[in-house]
C-alpha cells in the first residue's frame, strides 16, 4: 500500500485552493510519501515556502510551517537550520519564487551546501499572478507578458544548482509519481543542499493559453518528454533535443555547512581556554 500521508496534512485546511488538475497537489502528496519513508520526525521538521501557488503548500502541511516573502524562503530556512541543525528544513518554492526573484539565494545555499531540502515546483509559469512568463517558461511559448512569444531562454536548474555546489540534484515530474517518491526519499536521507526540481502542470495559466489541452494532456506531454536519465543517456544527441532527463542526476558527499560550523565553535571554544 502507498504510504499514508493523512497525518502530515492539515485536513481542516483542505481541499486546497489549487485549480482542478494542477500538479502541485500530486507533487506535494508524493513529497509526503517520500517523507513518510524517510522516517524523519514530523515534530522536528520545518517547511518554509515563499509566495506563489506553490508557496501555499506550507499551509497544508502539518509541520512547523513558515510562509514568507516572495523568493526569500531559503534565507529564512538558512537561519532556521543554522540555529538548530537538528531540524529537517524543507523549502517549497516555485519556478518564479525560486529561480527568478530567489535565484541568488538558491545558488548561495547550494554553494554553502547547507542541509536544506529545496523542492521547486516547476510549472513553467507564474501561476499565482495569473500567467506571466517565468525563467522556466519555454522559449516561444506565450504568456500574459509575452504576448508575441517568449524570447527568454530557460535555466537548466539542475545544471545551475549543481554547478553552484548542490550535493544532491534531482528532477521528477507529476507524471512519474513513483520516481518522485524515490527521489524524495533519497533526498530526505541526503545530508547537504538537496535540490529537487519537480515538474508540474498548470493547466489554467500555462496550458490553456498555450493550447496544450487540459491536465491530462499536459501529463501525457510530460510522459513523452521527461524521461529517465538512464534512458536519456542512451539516446542520440538528436533524439535528446526535446527530452529532459529525470531521476537523481547528481549526488556527492561534500561536508555540510552546519557541521563545518560546529567545528568553528569547537575551535573558538578551544581558543578561549
Amino acid at each position: 500500500m502507498a504510504e499514508d500521508i493523512d497525518r502530515y496534512l492539515r485536513q481542516d485546511k483542505l481541499p486546497h485552493i489549487w485549480c482542478p488538475g494542477c500538479g502541485h497537489g500530486t507533487i506535494m502528496a508524493n513529497m509526503l510519501r517520500g517523507f513518510a519513508r524517510s522516517g524523519l520526525d514530523q515534530d522536528k521538521t520545518v517547511v518554509v515556502s515563499g509566495i506563489g501557488c506553490s508557496g501555499r503548500a506550507s499551509g497544508y502541511l502539518d509541520f512547523d510551517t513558515l510562509h514568507v516573502t516572495h523568493g526569500r524562503a531559503l534565507t529564512f530556512a538558512t537561519g532556521i537550520k543554522m540555529a538548530n541543525p537538528e531540524l529537517t528544513v524543507v523549502v517549497v518554492t516555485g519556478d518564479g519564487d525560486g529561480a527568478a526573484i530567489g535565484g541568488n539565494h538558491l545558488i548561495h545555499a547550494c554553494r554553502r551546501n547547507i542541509d536544506i531540502k529545496v523542492v521547486l515546483f516547476n510549472n513553467s509559469i507564474y501561476g499565482m499572478t495569473a500567467g506571466q512568463f517565468s525563467p522556466m517558461t519555454p522559449t516561444g511559448a506565450t504568456a500574459t507578458t509575452a504576448p508575441y512569444g517568449n524570447i527568454d531562454q530557460n535555466f537548466d536548474l539542475c545544471e545551475l544548482t549543481r554547478s553552484a555546489g548542490a550535493t544532491f540534484v534531482a528532477r521528477g515530474a507529476a507524471q512519474h509519481p513513483r520516481q518522485l517518491i524515490k527521489i524524495f526519499q533519497e533526498g530526505f536521507a541526503h545530508r547537504g543542499l538537496t535540490f529537487i526540481e519537480a515538474i508540474t502542470q498548470c493547466p489554467v495559466n500555462y496550458g490553456r493559453r498555450n493550447k496544450l489541452g487540459g491536465a491530462r494532456d499536459m501529463l501525457n506531454w510530460q510522459k513523452e518528454h521527461i524521461i529517465n536519465q538512464k534512458k536519456y543517456e542512451s539516446l542520440s544527441a538528436e533524439e535528446r533535443q526535446d527530452k529532459t532527463p529525470s531521476g537523481i542526476l547528481y549526488q556527492d558527499e561534500r561536508e555540510e555547512y552546519t557541521e563545518k560550523y560546529e567545528k568553528i565553535i569547537a575551535t573558538a571554544r578551544g581558543s578561549e581556554n
Partner: protein, 69 residues
Amino acid sequence: MVAKKGRVKVARPDWCKTCGICIEVCPVEVLELGKDRIQIIYLENCVGCENCELSCPDFVLKVVNEDEE
C-alpha cells in the same frame, strides 16, 4: 505472506475537483467522472496498481486492502 489485493476507494469524495487525471492513469477501466466528483464504476476491474492514488492532486483516492472496506 501473500500480499493482499488492493482496491481503490474514494476516500475524500468532497475534495475531488473532477480533473480526470485518475482516469487517465488508470490502466484498466475503473473510474468515471460524475457530476461533481469521481465515481468508481467497475471496481472489479481494479488491479490495485495505485496509479490513481499516486497521481490524484487532491488526495481523493486511496487503494486499500480488500478486507479493509
